[in-house]
C-alpha cells in the first residue's frame, strides 16, 4: 500500500483537481526479477509444509499465458488513486435520472428510506459512528465506482454504462453534500474527491500474544 496521506484530517470538503501525476504512478514497477524467485521474505519457502518437493521443476506451465486483451476484459477494479477508472463522465443531473430508474426501489427516494442500505448520511460523529453510510464512513469515493460497476443494481448488475455509473456516483455524493450540484464525475475528478472520514482509518494493531487487549 502506498502510504495514505493522513495529514489532511477530514473536513467535509470538496476537492476536485486533476490527478494526472497520481494516475501514472500506479503502473507495476518494471523491475522484474526471476519468475521462479519469491517476492516476499515471509513467503512459503521450499521448507514449509505446503512447499513443493525439491525435485519440482522451476515451472509446470499448466495453464495458458493470458493476453493483454484477456486481462483487460476482467481487470475491472478501481483503486483510490483512480487506477482502473474508465473513460466517460456523468453529472449530478444525469445521475438523478439513473437513480430514479435503477436505484430508488431499494434505496429509497432520497437514499435514506431503504429498504436496503442507506446511501445518504453525513451526520458527523466523534468517538464512534451510529450509522455507517457513504457520507459519514466511506474513506474513498473511488470505491463507489468499483462496487456499483460490479454489484449494483442488485438484480441487474452490470447494466449501467460508464457515464451512468459516474452520474449516479455524482448524484449520491451530492446527496451526501460532498460535491456541489454542478459536479461532474470522471476518471479525473472522482479520485480527487476527499471523503470526510478518510483519515479516520488506521491499520490493524492486534498482534496476538499476552499483551493488552486491542
Amino acid at each position: 500500500m502506498r502510504p495514505v496521506d493522513r495529514s489532511n484530517r477530514g473536513s467535509a470538503l470538496v476537492v476536485v483537481a486533476a490527478l494526472a501525476a497520481l494516475l501514472s504512478a500506479c503502473d507495476p514497477s518494471p523491475g522484474a526479477f526471476s519468475g521462479a524467485a519469491r517476492a516476499t521474505e515471509g513467503g512459503a519457502g521450499s521448507g514449509s509444509a505446503e512447499g513443493l518437493p525439491a525435485h519440482a521443476p522451476a515451472r509446470f506451465a499448466f495453464g495458458a499465458e493470458a493476453s493483454d486483451a484477456r486481462v483487460a476484459m476482467w481487470d475491472i477494479d478501481v483503486r483510490p488513486d483512480g487506477d482502473g477508472l474508465p473513460q466517460g463522465s456523468g453529472s449530478v443531473q444525469q445521475g438523478r435520472d439513473v437513480y430514479m430508474v435503477h436505484c430508488i426501489a431499494c434505496h429509497g427516494p432520497t437514499g435514506t428510506e431503504g429498504p436496503n442500505d442507506r446511501l445518504v448520511d453525513n451526520s458527523p460523529w466523534d468517538a464512534y459512528p451510529t450509522s455507517r453510510a457513504i457520507g459519514n464512513y466511506w474513506p474513498y469515493a473511488t470505491t463507489l465506482y468499483d462496487y456499483i460497476r460490479k454489484a449494483m443494481p442488485q438484480l441487474t448488475p452490470g447494466v449501467l454504462n460508464a457515464d451512468q455509473v459516474y452520474g449516479v456516483i455524482a448524484y449520491i455524493l451530492y446527496l451526501n453534500e460532498i460535491v456541489p450540484e454542478d459536479a461532474v464525475m470522471s476518471a479525473q475528478t472522482l479520485p480527487a474527491v476527499v471523503m470526510p472520514m478518510r483519515d479516520r482509518f488506521v491499520d490493524d494493531d492486534r498482534t496476538g500474544g499476552p499483551g493488552p487487549v486491542r
Partner: protein
C-alpha cells in the same frame, strides 16, 4: 423436528400379503422377494423384518435432521451451522455456514477460469483441470465470519434466549483440499515490490477483497475440495481462496481473478464493511485475523438439564494465529477456573473440542469458557473488549460466552447477568 410417521402395517397383515404374492408365483428370485419386503417403515422389532437396501447416496436417520438457521431469503444473506447438534470438529458439508452477497452462482467446472495478473512476469489463465494438476495439499481449518457473535456485544441489551447456532453459527470446520497459492504465484513470477493481492469472485456481487501477499504466500490455498469431495456451490464451487485463520469474507468464493498489487484496493467489503470503529474516533481496517475464541456448545440454550448429577460440558475453541494451547472452564460464574480436556489432535487454525466433567448439584450457576492460543493470547471478557474498542464495533467479538443454569435446569445465555 417431528418424527415422520410411516403407515402402520401390522406384522400379521404384512405376512399375509407377502405370502399371498409369493404363493401366486409373482416372486421368482430372492431379489424379487427382498424388493417386496424391504422395509421403509420403522419396524417394531428390526431383527424380525429385513432392512432397506443399498443406495447411491446415503442419508441421515429420519429422526436426525440438523438444519442451518437462515437469515432472510435474500440475495445477500447468511445461514448458520447448528453447532449444538454436532460432534467432533468437522462440519458436515451440507451444514457449513453460508454468507453470500449476490446469491450462489451456477458455475460449470469445465468453463471456470482463474486469471492471475498484475505485478507478475507472465499473466496466466488457469482452467480447473490445470489447477488440479498442480501438487495438492489437504488441511483441516476453521472458517469463521467476523460478524459472528455480533448479537451478544450490546452494552444495553444482552439476550438471554439465544442458541449457540444463532450466536456463533457462522463458524464451520472442514478438511480443505487445493493447491497452495504460492505454487501458482511461482508459476506467474511475482515482481519485486508487490505486497498485496486483490481476489475477486465470479458471483453476481463480484465480491472482492485485498489480502497481504505475505499471508497468501504463507499458507493460503486455492481450495477445490471440501471434506473429501469437490467443494460445494455454497462454498465457492469450483474454487475459492482459503486464508487459514482469516475472516470468512476475505476467503473469496467462486474465485475468478487474482491481481498482484503493491497496495490494497479498498473495496466496499474492506471499507464500508468489515472495519472496526474503535471508540476513539478511529476505524480499524484490514483486521483480517480471527483471534482466539471458545464457546460452550453443551449445555446451552434451550437445553434443560433434566436432573442433577454428572454432566460433560463441551465446546469448541479455535484461533486464527495457530494452535489452541489451553481452554479453561468456570462453573461458578468466573470465580474459579479449571483446565478442560482438549480432544486431540489439536491442529493449528482449526477448531478443537474441549470437555469438562461437571457435577451439577441443582443450584443456579453460570458456566464459562476461555481459550488461550499458542501466542499466549487469552480470550478476553466482554468488558475488556468494550474498554478496548468501545460499543460500536460489529466484527471480531471473540469475548468469553456464558450460560446460566437455573435451579430447574433451564439453560439461558448468561452474559447479561455478569455485566
Amino acid at each position: 423436528m417431528p418424527r415422520k410417521e410411516g403407515p402402520k402395517i401390522s406384522r400379521r397383515a404384512w405376512i399375509t400379503t407377502t405370502s399371498g404374492v409369493i404363493a401366486a408365483g409373482l416372486v421368482r428370485s430372492q431379489s424379487d422377494a427382498i424388493k417386496l419386503v424391504a422395509q421403509e417403515v420403522p419396524a417394531a422389532d428390526p431383527t424380525k423384518v429385513p432392512g432397506r437396501l443399498v443406495s447411491e447416496l446415503g442419508r441421515r436417520a429420519s429422526a436426525e435432521q440438523p438444519k442451518r438457521l437462515l437469515r432472510a431469503q435474500e440475495l445477500s444473506s447468511s445461514s448458520r451451522t447448528p453447532l449444538a447438534d454436532l460432534m467432533g470438529t468437522i462440519t458436515p458439508s451440507d451444514l457449513h455456514f453460508e454468507r453470500h452477497h449476490g446469491g450462489i452462482p451456477d458455475i460449470k467446472f469445465e468453463d471456470h477460469e482463474l486469471l492471475v495478473h498484475g505485478m507478475v512476469d507472465r499473466p496466466m489463465v488457469f482452467k480447473m483441470s490445470d489447477l488440479m494438476r498442480y501438487p495438492q495439499v489437504s488441511k483441516v481449518y476453521f472458517l469463521e465470519c467476523s460478524g459472528n457473535g455480533g448479537g451478544v456485544y450490546s452494552q444495553t441489551r444482552m439476550p438471554t434466549e439465544v442458541t449457540v447456532q444463532a450466536m456463533d453459527g457462522l463458524l464451520s470446520t472442514s478438511e480443505w483440499t487445493g493447491v497452495p497459492v504460492s505454487t501458482i504465484l511461482r508459476e506467474v513470477g511475482v515482481r519485486r515490490g508487490a505486497s498485496w493481492i486483490l481476489a475477486e469472485g465470479g458471483d453476481a456481487a463480484v465480491l472482492s477483497r485485498s489480502v497481504p501477499l505475505d499471508k497468501v504466500m504463507d499458507d493460503s490455498l486455492l481450495a477445490y475440495g471440501q471434506n473429501g469431495e469437490r467443494i460445494r456451490p455454497e462454498q465457492g464451487y469450483p474454487v475459492r481462496l482459503f486464508l487459514p485463520g482469516y475472516e470468512g469474507n476475505a476467503n473469496v468464493k467462486w474465485l475468478r481473478r487474482i491481481e498482484v498489487t503493491d497496495r490494497p484496493t479498498h473495496t466496499r467489503e474492506e471499507t464500508s464493511k468489515y472495519t472496526d470503529p474503535l471508540g476513539d474516533g478511529t476505524i480499524r481496517q484490514f483486521s483480517l485475523m480471527m483471534d482466539a475464541k471458545s464457546v460452550i456448545t453443551f449445555p446451552s440454550y434451550p437445553y434443560v438439564l433434566p436432573e442433577r448429577g454428572w454432566w460433560e460440558i463441551q465446546g469448541l475453541a479455535w484461533s486464527g494465529r495457530g494452535r489452541i494451547s489451553k481452554v479453561e472452564v468456570s462453573t461458578d460464574a468466573g470465580r474459579s477456573w479449571v483446565e478442560a480436556a482438549l480432544q486431540g489432535p489439536v491442529l493449528p487454525k482449526s477448531t478443537v473440542r474441549f470437555r469438562h466433567l461437571f457435577e451439577w448439584r441443582g443450584r443456579e450457576t453460570i458456566i464459562l469458557s476461555r481459550a488461550t492460543d499458542e501466542t499466549g493470547y487469552v480470550q478476553p471478557t466482554v468488558q475488556q473488549l468494550w474498554e478496548a474498542r468501545g460499543p460500536a464495533t460489529s466484527y471480531h467479538q471473540n469475548h468469553q460466552r456464558a450460560w446460566k443454569i437455573a435451579a430447574g435446569g433451564e439453560v439461558t445465555f448468561g452474559l447479561g447477568d455478569m455485566v
